[in-house]
């Protein structure tokens, strides 16, 4: 280690004329201007930092659309610019600045927006609107679950036999392939003896986005839903694991078993007759129809997909 006497003499910073720099703008809350760092400004108004090494004057705004009310919200996704002004939600196609008022009944507060796929979701806390961007069609965020049960009358001969639980759901289909489906409607019961079931259901929808109804039916005598079945299956799994000592293999085993079982449930291949799930898809009808004649046999019915929407509630507002 070098002794103090061996150290090189300290370099003294050459004294030159004081520099006045504009590089640091304003930053610290230092009221003594003498103690500001070199380059710091005490005050700076309407400056522009864009060019490194030089300080300019702020640039102006360039109007691209005028004549609206007070603008309180702006959001852009792709070429679509959405502007909240007053109670209106206005759309501009950025490439042409073509203007369309897509909705005019917000409450006038700031609108928070986000885009997801081809949809814009917009809310000020009171109204919650969804805009299908390709067509600018405005609907509610969600679809209200069906509140009324369908009915099933005995039709012509040549159908299934048994006591069936009938349900339907609302479905929204969009041109881009997006589909939304509600939870099941309240249940209705149909009792038939080798006769067709004549379904009736609402011919109108709670919201314009609803385009179809899906009809679901239990197999005769079976009312367990998928969620109930899964609970039952998992209970059986636990019992099986505990009785067989398989739990000693730890989480990996359980993960594999549960994965396989869930797959089986979802494919409706559960062998245990106690946990056959439903209801099963019967058919899909367009909104506006009032009658569907159902002669799907139990065999064909169980080949259909079970209803899987265990919970689908557009609670917030719709």
């Amino acid at each position: 280690m070098a002794s103090p006497s061996q150290r090189a003499p300290a370099q003294r910073k050459p004294q030159g004329p004081p520099e006045i720099s504009f590089a640091k703008g304003i930053n610290t809350f230092q009221t003594n201007r003498l103690l500001l760092d070199p380059g710091e400004a005490a005050t700076l108004l309407n400056a522009d930092f864009d060019q490194i090494g030089a300080l300019g004057i702020v640039q102006a705004n360039t109007p691209i659309a005028t004549g609206m009310g007070r603008i309180h919200s702006i959001y852009k996704t792709g070429d679509h610019l959405f502007v909240g002004e007053g109670t209106n939600l206005v759309h501009f196609l950025v490439t042409t600045m073509a203007k369309t008022v897509v909705y005019s009944a917000f409450n006038g507060d700031d609108i928070s927006m986000l885009a997801y796929e081809n949809f814009l979701y917009a809310t000020e806390g009171e109204n919650k609107k969804k805009v299908y961007i390709p067509t600018l069609a405005v609907t509610e965020w969600g679809i209200e679950n069906p509140l009324t049960a369908p009915s099933g009358a005995v039709g012509d001969t040549g159908g299934p036999s048994g006591t069936y639980s009938l349900y339907y759901t609302y479905v929204a289909k969009y041109p881009d392939g997006t589909e939304y489906e509600t939870d099941l409607s309240p249940v209705a019961t149909a009792i038939v003896d080798t006769a067709k079931i004549e379904w009736s259901y609402p011919s109108t929808a709670p919201d314009s986005q609803v385009t179809h109804l899906r009809l679901y039916r239990d197999k005769s005598g079976v009312t367990a839903t998928l969620a109930q079945a899964r609970v039952a299956i998992e209970a059986k799994q636990t019992a099986l694991e505990q009785s067989s000592g398989m739990v000693k293999f730890g989480n990996l085993f359980q993960t594999v078993i549960r994965s396989q079982t869930n797959k089986a449930v979802s494919q409706n291949m559960v062998a245990d007759p106690d946990v056959i799930v439903g209801p099963f898809f019967v058919d899909e009808v367009e909104i506006g129809t009032v009658l569907y004649v159902d002669n799907v046999s139990d065999t064909d019915l169980v080949q259909g997909a079970p209803f899987t929407r265990e919970r689908y509630r557009p609670i917030f507002g719709v």
Binding site: L44, N107, T123
Partner: protein, 697 residues
């Protein structure tokens, strides 16, 4: 609106005609109804008491066809079309104690409806009920309005009061717990506070009819253009109930130009912005009809009553407009979805969202109805926006939602991949961390969700509700508003009173002190209008200053050199909102005049000024001087004003000008000073460039 029947009390056979029920205003757990000539009291949850058998009191074996009103001690009913009874079941007036039927002997009256009351009007008087009617003996008075009152020394008296009504009252509206009553006739809507009634002898004083302060002028903006009616506003009660910070609620009546049809409106008014919102048609013409309306909580910020709700249903044939006990029951029939018979719903039980109701027939007994859970949640979610406003974002293809007024501690989230399906709100999750402060921001950093309040941040980890974990972060200073919180590559930047703060996911630090000096001038009462942007290089904050209600100032912080080298500038650019499109490097701004703009383009015609630091002359120990300032500037034809500031005193201004970049010097004032600084000013809208550095000689 959906009601579900959660229980029926079948101890009494209501197969015979059952009249409408009356809820005791002083005992919200109780209601009264008359069935088969017997007066019953039902007390929540399951106590039914037959108070008195009325049979012996009734004439011709008839029975009351309507229970009209309930005051503190009596129920009033109507028999047939022209005989009216007051049934005092526990009256305490001297000489009238005990259960009894009082025939008020108004056989010439034809009561259309009545407005119940039950409040002291001072001076020992107690008004029990008000009955509007046309009494043949008082034809010269036109339509009169009666108050039945108890004078302790005189027993019952009927007070007639001419209120200038031009036609019979068509709809009795409300008894307000605060002490006001409301009614409608074809001339309009009337309201009066009980404290303003004056009892003088056997009549109410003239001052009662035009109580000051009960009427206000309706908004002219809604005359015709917006609602399609040429309204002739008659009365506009100024206040009914439920003041919170900025909101006022009330009823109003609008008539069409021909005067033949009038609508009863319920309105909500922001007393700050004077905007009328949530104006609902409650009733049309004679109280029937109406339009679909939403439900909302009008008492959400009332310290005294925090859980009351008003619910409106649509006014179709089975429409319901009903509410908590202090609100009008304009129409009370609701068809029970289970039985298909009418349920006469009276009022919500204010604490548990129960309604008392009786079926119109069919032996259903007393029904306790409860608003369905989903409806309650919908109701909770419905209040309109205030404060920071609703804010939504998406993470893991799941939408998150904060900012519902009255539910400031809630976090809402949607189903994955289905942002339209929001789940149940998560209340109180932040109470231990935020010390009961409301959420103020919601942002995603480093794949976690951060919910901010003024007390800091909570981190939400995990991909789904099953795996979510909440962590408290080290940050103790959080944002005031989501709108002024911007995600940057360095973290979340937000202003507080002492400057700009940076939250990095673990803790927050003050990194831009100068903000304190600037933000001291913020108009905090309008801070909800402030917003910020991150445009890829600059954090831009727009806020209202001084007494401005709109954002009239900007603070632009350049972060090209990182947080450590942040540099800022003030500005007077006004913008009501903005959006930074990072894909095209475009900043969109809007203003209060309805102009949509992009930031940038020509040089702004705004005053530029810069005050430098001060430079010591001769080491501060001895006075000295500088002789010249060497500059390097392109003024593009503009004039630069240089104001030397010597020992804090401004000296005579110097000016220079040029048309191209010029390096030169300008002489400085003579004198011995300890320190020198400068202020530079340019007012011309040209592309001036100050090139670093300049020198002092």
């Amino acid at each position: 609106m959906t009601l579900s029947i959660i229980g029926r009390y079948n101890a009494v056979d209501l197969s015979s005609y059952c009249v409408g029920n009356v809820q005791d205003p002083d005992d919200l757990d109780s209601m009264y109804f008359i069935n088969a000539n017997k007066l019953y009291k039902f007390t929540w949850p399951d106590t039914l008491t037959m108070l008195v058998d009325l049979t012996s009191y009734l004439q011709n074996n008839s029975f009351l066809t309507a229970a009209i009103a309930k005051d503190v001690s009596s129920i009033y009913g109507e028999l047939g079309t022209d005989l009216h009874y007051a049934i005092a079941h526990s009256h305490s007036t001297p000489g009238e104690g005990g259960m009894r039927i009082v025939d008020v002997n108004l056989t010439n009256l034809s009561i259309t409806t009545c407005v119940p009351a039950g409040y002291s009007v001072g001076g020992g008087f107690h008004v029990h009920m008000f009955i509007p009617d046309t009494f043949v003996a008082y034809t010269e008075l036109g339509t009169v309005f009666y108050a039945r009152s108890v004078i302790s020394a005189e027993g019952y008296q009927w007070f007639g009061k001419r209120l200038g009504l031009t036609s019979p009252i068509t709809q009795a509206l409300s008894l307000n717990n605060v002490g006001s009553i409301y009614w409608v006739d074809n001339a309009g809507f009337h309201g009066i506070g009980y404290s303003d009634w004056r009892v003088t002898g056997l009549s109410l004083s003239a001052s009662a009819a035009q109580t000051p302060g009960m009427y206000d002028t309706p908004p002219g903006a809604y005359d015709s253009a917006l609602w399609g009616y040429n309204y002739n506003w008659t009365h506009w009660p100024k206040k009914i109930r439920g003041w919170d910070d900025n909101w006022q609620y009330g009823f109003g009546v609008a008539r069409t130009s021909n005067g033949s049809v009038f609508d009863l409106w319920f309105y909500r008014k922001n007393v700050v912005t004077l905007q009328y919102q949530a104006q609902y048609v409650l009733a049309v013409a004679n109280g029937e009809g109406g339009t679909a309306v939403d439900a909302f909580d009008m008492w959400q910020n009332d310290d005294d009553v925090s859980t009351r709700w008003i619910y409106f249903s649509h006014g179709s044939a089975n429409g319901v407009v009903y509410s908590s006990s202090v609100w009008p029951v304009v129409a009370t029939n609701y068809v029970d979805v289970d039985t298909g018979v009418n349920v006469y719903v009276h009022a919500l039980h204010t604490n548990e969202q129960y309604c008392y109701a009786v079926h119109s027939g069919g032996g259903q007994g007393v029904c306790i109805t409860k608003l369905m859970e989903t409806e309650l949640i919908t109701g909770e979610a419905e209040p309109s926006i205030g404060g920071i406003g609703a804010r939504i974002l998406m993470k893991d293809k799941r939408v998150f939602f904060i900012g519902v007024p009255g539910y400031g501690k809630y976090l809402w989230w949607g189903q994955p991949l289905e942002p339209q399906a929001l789940d149940v709100g998560w209340d109180g999750f932040n109470s231990t961390v935020f010390d009961d402060e409301d959420n103020t921001s919601i942002n995603v950093l480093d794949d976690n969700l951060y919910i901010g309040s003024q007390k800091g941040f909570i981190r939400l980890r995990g991909k789904s509700p099953d795996s979510w974990v909440l962590d408290q972060t080290l940050a103790t200073i959080g944002p005031l508003s989501d709108k002024t919180s911007s995600i940057t590559p360095f973290g979340l930047i937000y202003p507080r009173e002492n400057g700009l703060w940076l939250f990095n996911g673990f803790t927050s630090v003050l990194f831009f002190e100068k903000g304190k000096n600037l933000l001291n001038n913020v108009n905090w009462t309008e801070y909800a209008r402030a917003f910020s942007l991150w445009d890829g290089r600059y954090y831009r904050l727009y806020y209202p200053s001084g007494s401005s209600v709109e954002n009239d100032r900007e603070l632009v912080v350049d972060l090209i050199g990182g947080i450590e080298n942040a540099r800022g500038t003030e500005g007077d650019r006004a913008a009501t909102f903005g959006f930074a499109d990072l894909t095209t490097n475009t900043v969109y701004l809007g203003d209060a005049s309805g102009n949509l703009m992009t930031l940038g383009g020509t040089v702004a015609s705004r005053a530029f000024s810069l005050t430098t630091k001060e430079y010591p002359c001769n080491g501060l120990l001895n006075a000295g001087s500088f002789s010249a300032l060497h500059y390097d500037i392109d003024l593009a034809g503009a004039t630069l004003t240089i104001i030397p500031i010597c020992d804090g005193v401004e000296k005579a201004a110097l000016t220079i000008t040029n048309t191209t970049r010029t390096r030169s010097k300008v002489s400085l004032p003579k004198g011995n000073f300890y320190r020198v600084g400068f202020r530079f000013e340019v007012t011309t809208a040209v592309a001036v460039k100050f090139y670093d550095p300049w020198y002092l000689e």
